[in-house]
């Protein structure tokens, strides 16, 4: 039996994880355009870590109150709460004394340390953490895929309906404010949508590929040079190819899934870089 036959016969194993990878790739790729253009790449890294921290906190509580059954939706809810709260605080942080990077760096490193500390206290679920952090995408459930699809639809509707407000508030908040646009509200909507998208994607794929998919497809799309709407479409497409292609490559090459997605995403950004160099 060839490798392809083996793959096709194992459809029940890979179809939900692959579908989750594709949805997460499109969602994170498109949102990444805002993340990159607003120069908040490391906010997304901190949020991914905060999402993992939320997951660890939920697991710790479950162990402390001796819950035996898996409570995936509660874990996801706690992770979303951590991520959205972090998004609103780190996204809106303005200090006259400290650069924004300082608060983002502090958020990332403290969340990382708390993940390590929390994991050290976990008795049964510690093995899950490796998958959450570095990416697994093997054991994605139907419920997790449904959560990802729901978040994808919500984000798409919000971003299509309020595109002009989100773009204006992000590109030129001062003028937007002067013209009566509620910049604080639209910033909240934008960062909340990123904060909501990260946990279900991180739960399905792992923190490392989530950070990569929020950064590399958008960077490649922006380097390729289309206008803003084209960049959103191109980044979403690159995210789909990176996540889906990475999953397939990892299956056949028997490599770690999350890291393979990151490498494929980086490889996809190279044509944009080459195009940019050629234009100069």
């Amino acid at each position: 039996m060839s490798a392809l036959d083996t793959f096709l016969s194992a459809r029940e194993i890979w179809q939900i994880p692959l579908a989750a990878s594709l949805v997460a790739g499109a969602l994170l790729g498109a949102l990444g355009v805002y993340v990159v253009l607003r120069r908040t790449v490391f906010v997304s890294a901190a949020l991914t870590q905060l999402s993992t921290l939320g997951m660890v906190a939920a697991l710790l509580v479950e162990e402390r109150i001796h819950l035996e059954a898996e409570h995936a939706s509660e874990q996801l809810a706690v992770a979303i709460a951590f991520s959205v709260a972090g998004a609103l605080v780190l996204g809106a942080w303005r200090s006259r004394r400290l650069p924004a990077e300082a608060s983002v760096g502090a958020g990332w490193v403290v969340a990382s340390a708390l993940v390590v500390l929390g994991t050290s206290r976990l008795v049964h679920a510690a093995h899950d953490l490796s998958g959450m952090v570095f990416g697994n995408a093997v054991a994605v459930t139907g419920g997790e895929l449904a959560a990802l699809v729901a978040v994808f639809v919500l984000a798409a509707v919000v971003h299509l309906l309020f595109e002009k407000e989100l773009v204006f508030s992000s590109f030129d908040p001062e003028t937007a404010r002067a013209l009566g646009v509620r910049v604080g509200l639209w910033d909240t909507v934008l960062f909340a949508s990123v904060g909501i998208a990260i946990p279900p994607a991180a739960r399905a794929l792992g923190a490392l590929p989530v950070f990569a998919l929020l950064t590399l497809p958008a960077a490649g799309a922006l380097l390729a040079g289309p206008r803003l709407r084209g960049a959103f479409l191109l980044a979403a497409l690159a995210g789909v190819i990176a996540a889906g292609g990475g999953y397939l490559v990892s299956w056949f090459a028997e490599t770690p899934t999350g890291a393979t997605m990151v490498v494929v995403a980086a490889a996809l950004a190279l044509p944009g870089l080459a195009l940019r160099a050629l234009r100069r």
Binding site: K164, D172, R227
Partner: protein, 261 residues
């Protein structure tokens, strides 16, 4: 425009304390902008001009006193162009369209009439031919004109500009000021302009306001009155001798007290 509406301020600060947080920059500011005014806020860098402009526009509330503006006043705002990130893949048209989009309900997309208005605004500032070019690829002077077109696209009664000629070479500076002059003259558009270079705005404005938070300075009056040596000495913090051009523009009488020349 009726005689009464021509005398009604588009926006005014009355006994306003200007600052942010708990920090007062300027106190007792009285400043009214009438239809057709051309007011230049002049002072050193970091002197509180932009904070005063933001208070006037309503994006920063006064710490004390009041800001009065009829709800219907349409404001066009041109920020310091260096604050805008050139990595955004937006065309000059996309940027100018924002001035129109801001007046639409959140879910409504700009229509054909909005696009026509934007093209008209770009034409008025001589930028129609770069409408499809990427904003970040334009020169400083071109970007400034696109931002002015964006402000015009909203059909404002009051055009507010923050350091519109900052960092430009003399030719681009003159060209930009001529565009602003022409808009002011042709449409009776009220203009409030912030600049740290009195020499670049004195020939265009009808009213000058000197602003320096470090000396708690706020003085306002007609250009002729404000270009006298004693007023300029207050602005520069040292004795000033007028050159022949400034001397010719100066009037023997000083500025009127309060916010109106």
């Amino acid at each position: 425009m009726t005689a009464e509406s021509a005398r009604r301020p588009l926006v005014a600060l009355e006994g306003a304390t200007v600052g942010y947080g708990r920090r007062t920059l300027l106190a007792g500011v009285d400043l009214a902008i009438l239809p057709g005014d051309f007011v230049a806020l002049v002072g050193p860098n970091g002197g509180g001009k932009t904070t005063l402009l933001r208070t006037l526009l309503g994006t920063l509330p006064p710490l004390a006193g009041r800001r009065a503006a009829p709800d219907r006043t349409r404001i066009g705002y041109v920020p310091q162009r260096d604050l805008l990130d050139a990595i955004w893949p937006l065309s000059a048209f996309d940027v100018a369209l924002m001035g129109r989009a801001a007046h639409l309900p959140p879910w409504r997309r700009p229509g054909a009439s909005d696009r026509d208005a934007v093209l008209g605004a770009l034409e008025r500032v001589g930028m129609a031919d770069v409408a499809r070019r990427r904003y970040g690829d334009l020169s400083g002077g071109q970007r400034q004109r696109v931002l002015i077109a964006r402000a015009l696209a909203g059909e404002p009664e009051l055009l507010a500009l923050d350091e519109p000629t900052n960092g430009m070479d003399p030719a681009a500076e003159l060209s930009t000021m001529e565009v602003i002059d022409a808009l002011h003259a042709a449409n009776g558009l009220a203009v409030v302009l912030v600049s740290h270079r009195i020499e670049s705005v004195a020939a265009h404005a009808s009213t000058l306001a000197f602003v320096d938070k470090d000396r708690r300075l706020f003085r306002v009056g007609p250009v002729g009155g404000m270009l006298r040596p004693e007023e300029l000495a207050a602005l520069f913090g040292r004795p000033v001798k007028l050159g022949p051009v400034a001397a010719a523009m100066a009037e023997p009488s000083g500025p009127a007290p309060g916010g109106r020349p």
